[in-house]
């Protein structure tokens, strides 16, 4: 049973100096984990099914190309819906990019950076809701500055409620945080804490 996903994926051992370092920010540590818990093992699925949560997570972490983190979420999805994992891995391959990029309007137009606009490669394998969720997740991961009302309208057309969109957005945004904390702490852990 994993009690702290960040420790697990960053390779932080109980009692190690990095473990003690994390204890200096006890609320951040506890609530980074609670964020994971409420998103992935909620008391009530609400507007986003557990399969949808795990599928989006496997897609988002796959796009971040951290193999350890991506494997963790892929394994979660495989446990819940083995048939879906292959479709997700296919979409990760199709969605690979380097970000952030995106077009700015108005006075920032000179800073615009064009880049790919992902569309689900095999929407039939994902279903309407999940295909729309993946397209939105890709937007948030790589070109959040291009997000607009039309992106939310596309989710609504695919059957996402307002509350469901909030949960989906939190899920993608939280994973953006979690994978980066793991990256940073793993670097500190590998070189050995000195202070």
């Amino acid at each position: 049973m994993i009690t702290d996903v960040i420790d697990h994926l960053a390779g932080i051992a109980p009692g190690s100096s990095l473990d003690r370092l994390r204890d200096r920010r006890p609320d951040a540590r506890e609530h980074a984990q609670r964020s994971y818990d409420v998103l992935f093992t909620p008391d009530d699925e609400g507007e986003v099914t557990l399969v949808e949560r795990d599928a989006v997570a496997a897609f988002v972490t796959g796009l971040h190309q951290d193999l350890t983190v991506a494997r963790f979420y892929a394994d979660r999805l495989a446990e819940l819906s083995p048939g879906l994992l292959k479709a997700v891995e296919y979409e990760v391959e199709a969605g690979r990019a380097t970000g952030p990029y995106g077009v700015y309007a108005g006075v920032l137009a000179a800073e615009s950076e064009e880049g790919p606009r992902y569309r689900a490669s095999d929407p039939a394998a994902l279903g309407v809701r999940l295909a729309a969720a993946f397209e939105h997740a890709h937007l948030l991961v790589f070109r959040p500055r291009e997000a607009g009302r039309d992106a939310l309208a596309a989710l609504r057309r695919a059957g996402w409620s307002e509350t469901g969109i909030v949960t989906l957005s939190q899920l993608v945004a939280f994973l953006s945080f979690q994978v980066r904390v793991i990256t940073g702490l793993r670097l500190l852990n590998q070189e050995g804490v000195t202070a």
Partner: protein, 188 residues
């Protein structure tokens, strides 16, 4: 759409926030800070109170915990650099004001907004900004060279961890702010 600025901006949601009348005790608990109950951003996030609560507690410890580590000004600097790089005009405006205020170096912060993340800065701010920007990229480019530069600039492990958390947290915040609504010129 405005450019990057330290002016006070408003923020208008594209989805309906909860109304103050709809808030239950669970929602108030999720908002943590009473003042947040008047913000359209937090009232929108209150649609999923469980994650809002955990997110808010994480946020507050990363930025406000005074027990050692990175000075508040530089946690805010990492937040500002991340927001500038991701393109979040609203988050950048708020955290640039905090960074300028706590560091008493509003001109240096202003240059970060006006000229971008590669604008001239002293060595210590250069190291914090470079690490935040590398971490904000997808896939992340943060590497041992960034950690070494932070160490050379005088940061200890806790301070480096704070810089990582502050930058990473804005990977979270920027994506919500950018995708659920837009900045407005008038302060709400």
């Amino acid at each position: 759409m405005t450019g990057f600025t330290t002016d006070r901006l408003g923020w208008r949601p594209w989805l309906a926030p909860l109304t103050e009348e709809e808030l239950t005790d669970a929602h108030h608990e999720a908002l943590v800070d009473r003042a947040r109950a008047t913000s359209p951003y937090f009232l929108l996030l209150a649609r999923d109170p469980g994650i809002l609560h955990a997110r808010t507690k994480t946020d507050q410890d990363i930025f406000y915990n005074p027990d050692g580590g990175l000075p508040r000004a530089e946690r805010e600097l990492a937040a500002t650099a991340t927001s500038r790089h991701n393109g979040c005009v609203f988050c950048a405006s708020v955290h640039a004001r905090f960074a300028g205020h706590h560091s008493k170096r509003p001109g240096d912060v202003r240059r970060l907004l006006d000229e971008g993340v590669s604008a001239r800065q002293d060595d210590r701010w250069r190291a914090v900004i470079d690490a935040a920007v590398a971490l904000a990229d997808t896939p992340s480019r943060l590497g041992p060279e960034h950690i070494a530069a932070l160490r050379a600039a005088g940061l200890d492990d806790l301070a480096i961890s704070d810089a990582v958390h502050a930058g990473a947290f804005f990977g979270w915040a920027n994506r919500l702010m950018l995708s659920l609504g837009e900045p407005t010129l008038e302060d709400r």
